[in-house]
C-alpha cells in the first residue's frame, strides 16, 4: 500500500478561501463594530467577494485539479463561481438597507451569507461526492438560519424550521445515495465512478445511489415533486434572504447536479434522462400553473423559480456541450433577473411594510416610474421576451434540446413560457394600468438598492442584446 500525499494546491480553491477568510474577518469585526455602523460589515463582505471574483478571473482558462481530485478549477466551475459571487454581491447590496429597515441589522447576517457562498463555490467546483455533500451542508446550514433570521417574525421562524426539517430529510437521502454509490464502485470520486461504470455497466447498487442522489439535488434546486418547501420558505424568509437563496443555491446545486450526472453517470444517461425529462415537464408545468393564481408576489416568484429550474433541467437532459453552456448562460441570466425582481420588491417597500400583494403594485408606475420600469423589464425577462437576458437563455436551452433530439421537451418548454407570460404580466398591468393604492406614496428608495437594480438591469439588457461574450465564456466545459 502506497501513501500518496494529496496535492495541496490552495490556489485552486482561492475564491472559496478568500470568501471564508472574509467571513471570519467580518465575524471578528462584528465584535468591535458599534450598532449604527453594522452596514460597514456588509461593505467589508462586498470587498471580499470582489477580491474572490478577481481570484476567480485569475484562474480562468487554466483548468487545474487539487486535493487528490476533490476540487477543480475548470471553466464550468469558475463560471458558476462568478455567478454565485455576483449573486451574493447584489444580494448584499439589496440587504444593506433591508436589514436595518427590518431591525435585524447584525453582522452575523453577512457572515452567514459569506459562509453560504463558500459552500456554494465548493459545491460548484467539487469533483468528489463527499466534498459535494460537505459543501451542500455548508451552504444549507447558514441558509436555515438566514431564513429564520427575523426572529421576531413567526413566519420567518416557520420558514427556517420547515427548510431545516425538509432539508435534513433530503440530505439523508443524498448521503444514503453516496453510500450506495460507494458500495457499488468503491469510490466517491466522480471520474473514478465513471471509470468503474465503464467496466461494469449494469450496477443496481449504483442505480439506487443515482436515484437517491437525484432526489437530493431535486430538493435543493426545487424540482417538482420535491419542491414543497419552496413557496413556504420563499414566502416566509426575509425578502433579501429569499433573493439570495433563489439564485445562489440554484447555481451551486445545479452545478453539482450537472457535474455528478454528466461526469460520473453518463453511462446511465439512458435511464436518468427519461426520469429528468419527466421531472422537467412536471416542474415547468406545475411551477407555472401554480404561479398563475398567486396573489402574493413572493409566492409567485417562488413558483416562478421552480419553473425556471424546470427549464434548466431541460439543458441537463439535452447533455452535450450546448446543453452545458446554455445552462450556465441561463443561470447567469436568471441570477441577474431574479435578483432584480426581488430587488424591486425591496426597493418599493416602506420600512417593514412590503408590497407583497400584487394589488399593492397598483399605479406604482406613476409614483416610481424608474423602479416600476425596471421591475417590468425584469418580469419580461423572466417571461422570456426579447431582447432581454431571459429570452436568450431560453432560446439557448430550447435550441440545445432541439439539437439533441428532445424537440418535444422544448415544445413543452415554449408552451410553459406562454403560460408564464400571464403571471409575469400581471404586476406590469397592475403598475401601469391601475389607480395608485393609497398609502404607498412616500417611499424613499435606498440608493444602494437602486444601484443594485441598475446593475442587474444593465446585465439583463446586455445579455439580451449582445450575449456572445457570455456564451463564449460558458462553453468552457468540465475538466475531466
Amino acid at each position: 500500500m502506497s501513501l500518496s500525499v494529496p496535492d495541496l494546491n490552495f490556489r485552486v480553491i482561492a475564491p472559496a478561501l478568500i470568501v471564508a477568510l472574509t467571513a471570519l474577518i467580518v465575524l471578528l469585526a462584528e465584535l468591535v463594530t458599534p450598532a449604527p455602523r453594522k452596514r460597514w460589515l456588509g461593505v467589508l463582505g462586498l470587498i471580499g467577494l470582489l477580491i474572490a471574483a478577481g481570484a476567480t478571473v485569475g484562474l480562468w482558462g487554466a483548468p487545474a485539479s487539487a486535493f487528490g481530485g476533490m476540487v477543480v478549477a475548470d471553466n464550468f466551475g469558475l463560471f458558476l463561481t462568478l455567478v454565485i459571487l455576483l449573486g451574493a454581491a447584489l444580494s448584499i447590496l439589496l440587504a444593506l438597507d433591508f436589514v436595518r429597515a427590518h431591525r435585524v441589522d447584525q453582522g452575523e447576517y453577512y457572515v452567514l451569507v459569506l459562509f453560504a457562498v463558500v459552500g456554494m463555490i465548493l459545491m460548484a467546483t467539487a469533483t468528489d461526492l463527499i466534498v459535494i455533500f460537505l459543501a451542500l451542508e455548508l451552504l444549507s446550514l447558514p441558509l436555515y438560519i438566514l431564513a429564520a433570521f427575523k426572529r421576531a417574525d413567526a413566519r420567518s421562524l416557520e420558514a427556517g424550521l420547515k427548510y431545516f426539517l425538509l432539508g435534513a430529510f433530503s440530505s439523508a437521502f443524498f448521503l444514503y445515495g453516496i453510500a450506495f454509490i460507494f458500495g457499488g464502485t468503491g469510490t466517491t470520486n466522480l471520474m473514478k465512478i465513471a471509470d468503474a461504470l465503464a467496466k461494469n455497466p449494469r450496477n443496481d447498487l449504483l442505480l439506487v445511489g443515482a436515484g437517491l442522489l437525484l432526489v437530493g439535488f431535486a430538493f435543493k434546486v426545487a424540482l417538482v415533486p420535491f419542491h414543497w418547501w419552496t413557496p413556504d420558505v420563499y414566502d416566509g424568509a426575509p425578502t433579501a434572504v429569499t433573493a439570495f437563496m433563489s439564485v445562489g443555491v440554484k447555481a451551486a446545486a445545479f452545478g453539482a447536479f450537472f457535474r455528478a450526472f454528466l461526469v460520473a453517470l453518463p453511462a446511465f444517461a439512458f435511464d436518468w434522462r427519461i426520469v429528468l425529462a419527466a421531472l422537467a415537464v412536471l416542474t415547468m408545468t406545475l411551477g407555472n400553473v401554480a404561479a398563475l393564481l398567486q396573489s402574493n408576489v413572493k409566492r409567485m416568484l417562488a413558483y416562478s423559480s421552480i419553473a425556471h429550474a424546470g427549464y434548466i433541467l431541460i439543458a441537463l437532459v439535452a447533455m452535450g456541450a450546448s446543453g452545458l453552456s446554455s445552462a450556465l448562460f441561463y443561470l447567469l441570466a436568471y441570477t441577474l433577473t431574479n435578483l432584480g425582481a426581488f430587488g424591486a420588491v425591496i426597493a418599493l417597500s416602506d420600512g417593514e411594510r412590503e408590497r407583497l400583494e400584487i394589488r399593492d403594485w397598483g399605479g406604482a408606475a406613476r409614483q416610481y416610474p424608474f423602479i416600476a420600469a425596471m421591475f417590468a423589464i425584469f418580469m419580461l425577462s423572466l417571461a422570456g421576451f426579447p431582447p432581454l437576458a431571459g429570452f436568450t437563455g431560453k432560446f439557448l436551452i430550447f435550441s440545445a434540446a432541439v439539437e439533441t433530439g428532445w424537440a418535444w421537451l422544448a415544445v413543452i418548454g415554449v408552451l410553459n413560457s406562454l403560460v408564464s407570460a400571464y403571471f409575469y404580466l400581471r404586476p406590469i398591468v397592475q403598475m401601469y394600468m391601475s389607480e395608485p393604492v393609497p398609502g404607498w406614496d412616500r417611499i424613499r428608495v435606498a440608493p444602494l438598492v437602486a444601484l443594485a437594480l441598475v446593475l442587474a438591469l444593465i446585465g439583463v439588457i446586455a445579455l439580451g442584446l449582445y450575449p456572445t461574450p457570455a456564451i463564449v465564456m460558458a462553453t468552457g466545459g468540465f475538466l475531466r
Binding site: 420547515k162 425538509l166 430529510f169 437521502f173 413556504d232 435511464d271 400553473v289 398563475l292 393564481l293
Partner: protein, 649 residues
Amino acid sequence: MINSLWLIPALPLAGATINAIFSRKLPRWLVSVIACGAVGASFVVSLLAFFAMQSTDEHHRVFNVSLFTWIPVADFKVDVAFLLDPLSALMLLVVTGVGFLIHVYSIGYMDAERDDGYGHFFTYLNLFIFSMLMLVLGSNYLLMYVGWELVGLCSYLLISFWFHKPEAASAGKKAFITTRVGDFGFGLGVLLIFTTFGTLDFADIFAHAKLIDQSLITIITLLLFAGAVGKSAQIPLYVWLPDAMEGPTPVSALIHAATMVTAGVYMVARSHALFELSPFSSEVVAWTGALTAIYTATIALVQMDLKRVLAYSTISQLGYMFVAVGIGAYGAGIFHLMTHAFFKALLFLGAGSVMHAMNGIIDMRQLGGLRAKMPRTYITFLAAALAIAGFPFFAGFFSKDEILASAFATGHTAIWVIGLITAGLTAFYIFRAFFLTFHTEPRWTTDDRRPLTEDDSHRSSVNGHRSVHPHESPAVMTIPLAILAVLSVIGGFAGMPKVMGANFLEHYFEPVFKPHDLHLAASTEWMLIGASVAAGLLGIALAYWFYIARPTIPVTLARRFSGIYNLLWHKYWIDEIYSWLFVDKGYRLAMFLWQVLDVKIIDGAANGLGRATAALSRVTRSWQSGYARAYALMMLIATVIVLGWLILR
C-alpha cells in the same frame, strides 16, 4: 468617381431628412432649393459616374461597390452594395434627370399649397427619388426589394397627399393594397431565389442560373413578374394607376409615368439572365404586356378626364415595354422606358399646366381652345403627343418601332399585330385629347354663366359652374416643359434602326444584354417602319376628322354603338367586378373570421384554456397544505416512484 456612387441616393435622402425636420421653420424658397438642389446634385453625380463608366474598357463596364455588410447571419449575408452598369446608369440619369425637372416644375405647381404641405410634398418627393435610386442601384434582390417597397410607400403618401379629399385617400389605399398583391409574389420570389441559390447577390445568381432546374427558374421568374404586374400596373393589377391620378400632377408625372411604374420593366431587364432561361415566363411577360397595351388603349379612347386618358396611356405604354422585355429585346424595352419617361412626363406636366390655368378643371368637356391662352404648354404638349403617337423621327417613333420590329423578327406576329393596332389607337386617343384640350371651341367661360358644353351627362358637378381665367403657367413650370419637349423630339436618335443609321443604344447596352440582332432584310425593316408610321398617321387623321372636321361623328358613334361605348366608358366594369369580388367578399370573409372564427372559436378556445389552467392552478394550490410532515410524505412517495422506476424498468 465610381466610389462616390453612394452620394447619388444619399443626396436626396439628406434633402428629405432636412426638409422633414426643418421645412416648417425654413423659408419656402430654401425648401425648394434644398429639394431641387439635392436631386440636381444627384443628377450631376450620376452624369459623372456615367462618363467615368463610359471611359473604361467596354467589357468591364460593370462595377460593384460594396459599402458595408448589412445582414450577416450565418450563411445569410447581404451587403449594402451598389451596381453600376450601363443599365443602372441609364436608369440613374432618367430618374435624377426627369426627377430634377419635375422637382423644379413642382415649385410652381405646388405654389398654392399651405406652408406645411409644401415642405411635406418636397420631403416625400426627395424620399421617393432616394427610394427609386436604391431600387435601381442595389446589387442584390434584398436591396432592390427595400427600394421596391419604399417607392410603394412614397407612392401611397403622394397619391393621398391631399388626404382630406376622400377620393385621394381611398386612391392611395387602393394603390397600396393592389400593389401589395404583386409585392407578395415578388417577396416570395426573392425568398425562393435565396433558398435556391443561397444568395441574393445579382452577380452570383446570374452566374449560376444555368445550373438550376428550368421549372424552378420558371416559378421564380413568374413570382418576380407578379411584383412587376403590381408595380407597373399590368393586367390584372392595373386598376390602381388611373385612380392614382388623384395625387398632385407632378407626382403623376414622376411616379406614375416616368419612374416608379417602370420599376417592373427594370426589374425584368435586370433579371434577364433568369428570364432568358425560361421561355414560358418570357412568353407570359410578352403576352401580358401586349394584352394590357391594347386593352387599356381602348379604355383611353373614350375617357373624358385628361389625366385618366394619360394614365391609361401609361399602362398601355408599359405594356409595350413588357412586350419588349418578354420577347428578349431588353435594350428596346429600356429604350422605350427612357423615351416614355420624357414624353409621358411632359404630357402629364402639360396636363398639370392646364389644370393650373383652369383652377383644377381636368375634364375635357370643359376645356377646349386653350391654344391661344397657353402657347408654350400647347407646343410642348404637341411635341409629346407626336412622340407618343410615333410620328416619324420623334422619340417614341424609334423606340416603339424597335419593339414592334423585334416582335415581328422573333416570330411573335400576333403580338406585332396587336402592337400595331395599339399604335393606331394610341395616336387616336392622344390627339383626341390634344384637340379637345387645345383646339375646338372653348367650353369654359370667363364669367359666371353656365359652360357652353352640349353633353352634360357625365359632367362633374364640382367643377361645372366655376368661371375661369386661363393663363400661361410661370417660367418655373414652362422651362421644364421645354427641356422635356426637346428630349421628346430628339431622344429617339440614340436608338435608330439599322436601316437609318447606327443604334448607339444597343451598342451601349452590350456589357449587360447580348446584342439583339434582328436578322431582318432592309426591305422588311422599311416595311415595318412604314406600317407603324401608317398606323400612327391614321390615328392622328381619324382624331382630326372626328374632333375638328366633323365633331358630330363621335356623338353619333357613341349613340349607335352605345353598348361598346358604355363598356369602354365604364372601363369594362373591372373596378365594379373587383369591388364585388374582392372588396365585398373580402369584407364578408373578414366579418366571418372576426365574429365567428376569432371571437367564438379562437377567443373561446383561448379563454377556455385559460379557465382550465386557472382551475388546475386552484387544484395545485390546495396541495400546498403548509404542513412539513405532509411535504415529507409526498417527497417520500416521489422518491419511491423514482427509485422504483429506475430499478424495475
